[in-house]
Symmetry: C2
Subunit: 244 residues, 2 copies
């Protein structure tokens, strides 16, 4: 049997946000490859081998998935959210570039509901106007790039979704990001801290950016800073459609 | 019975990309409100009233949905893709602000797979690094704002997803957007034209931006311009994870 590689997004956490396309791919899989907490979201069954791995070994994991597919397995690489947004799809294509012998394998990418969309839906519609998404992790890019992008995003008056705002190993990055946005004149903007969206411990907090504290975010938090027109109506926060 | 208002995303087109959460909301609805082509995606059944409306009447449509909910109906407002991205959620909150008498209605926003995620998945992983989303329609914002955002997005080296690139009523906007990006030094970047993603007539074309022609896009096309590092491997286009 020909092996296949499917790169699938599990959505933010709730099974009700997993697309039927992804559910069908998981049902047809012989092997599930991914970061351990995401692999743990797939129900074990006979004939299915789970390959959980640690964080920060994305390229190795991608190579393993390609190798399994080349041996005839039906492999699904799982990511949280959408696999194309700060997740495994780029790592798989990078591994594919390093291993031309596997370039004829049938590969599919199955999109999912990425964290910022689920967070925005809980809060209202803060991404209803032009926006950007920035990964605050500086594992794979220098901090100077992050800083430049934050300043330009503020100048463009984009709403800004910040992924991976804060980890134990680099608690200072997010504090600096908040400072940069305040310096850029965004202190009065709405900031949404969406933690564990769609999970039982979900928590959504909205404050003015000038009142935001770095410890309001951890690695399970998605932060959305609204654009300059974003405002509240009742418990909701939304970006008006019109810009003058 | 208390009325409710649910703002739901139907995904890009294929039923396999509709979340179970949205499917359940549609099954519980008494009324479906939306732009006619999206309402047409909901299967008619006894007890369900369909309220299709024209384009460009978003605020009216949102007001009608709130009114129906206030009369005790179970209303679902449908959008293509994700309802929070250039779609109906912002219009509903705007109508809610104009009509404080309805602010106690139970409202939910159900996220969906927005067009850029589905387009990116077809092409590979062009949104695997920082990116932005810009609506090229100038119905609700001046062209000067669009132009400024395109220039700043190019300077930030974001991948750029362009929604609503081109319509019969304003064919010149997209041509100008391409010119601006070329002037900003993006001529060598990869440009993905993803038309009717996940529909039977889906078509994905990838060219260098300097080779892109305005007539490669219409209103059913989502255009993604990669960042400066985005490259091909086999038939795929992806953004490498690392930036130096």
């Amino acid at each position: 049997m020909t092996g296949t590689l499917t790169i699938a997004g599990l959505g933010p956490g709730d099974d009700a946000l997993v697309t039927p396309e992804v559910t069908a791919a998981l049902a047809a899989a012989t092997d599930i490859v991914g970061y351990a907490p995401y692999v743990a979201r797939v129900r074990p069954r006979e004939g299915l081998t789970l390959h959980p791995s640690d964080n920060r070994v994305e390229l190795q994991r991608a190579g393993e998935a390609l190798r399994l597919a080349s041996e005839g397995r039906q492999v699904v690489v799982v990511s949280s959210g959408d696999p194309g947004v700060f997740a495994m799809a780029s790592a798989v294509f990078e591994a594919l570039e390093d291993n031309p012998q596997w370039q004829s394998l049938p590969i599919r990418v199955l999109p999912g509901v990425t964290a910022m969309l689920a967070a925005a839906a809980c809060a209202g519609a803060p991404l209803g106007h032009d926006f950007c998404a920035i990964n605050l992790s500086d594992n794979l890019k220098p901090w100077t790039v992050i800083e430049k992008r934050l300043r330009l995003a503020a100048e463009a008056d984009f709403a800004i979704a910040m992924y991976n705002p804060r980890s134990a190993s680099r608690p200072e990055g997010f504090a600096r990001a908040l400072e940069i946005l305040k310096e850029a004149g965004c202190g009065g903007r709405m900031a949404i801290f969406a933690r564990a969206v769609s999970a039982p411990d979900e928590r959504i907090e909205t404050v003015r950016l000038c009142e935001a504290r770095p410890d309001m975010a951890d690695m399970r938090t998605l932060v959305i800073v609204g654009n300059s027109a974003t405002r509240r109506v009742g418990r909701w926060v939304y970006a008006p459609r019109q810009v003058r």
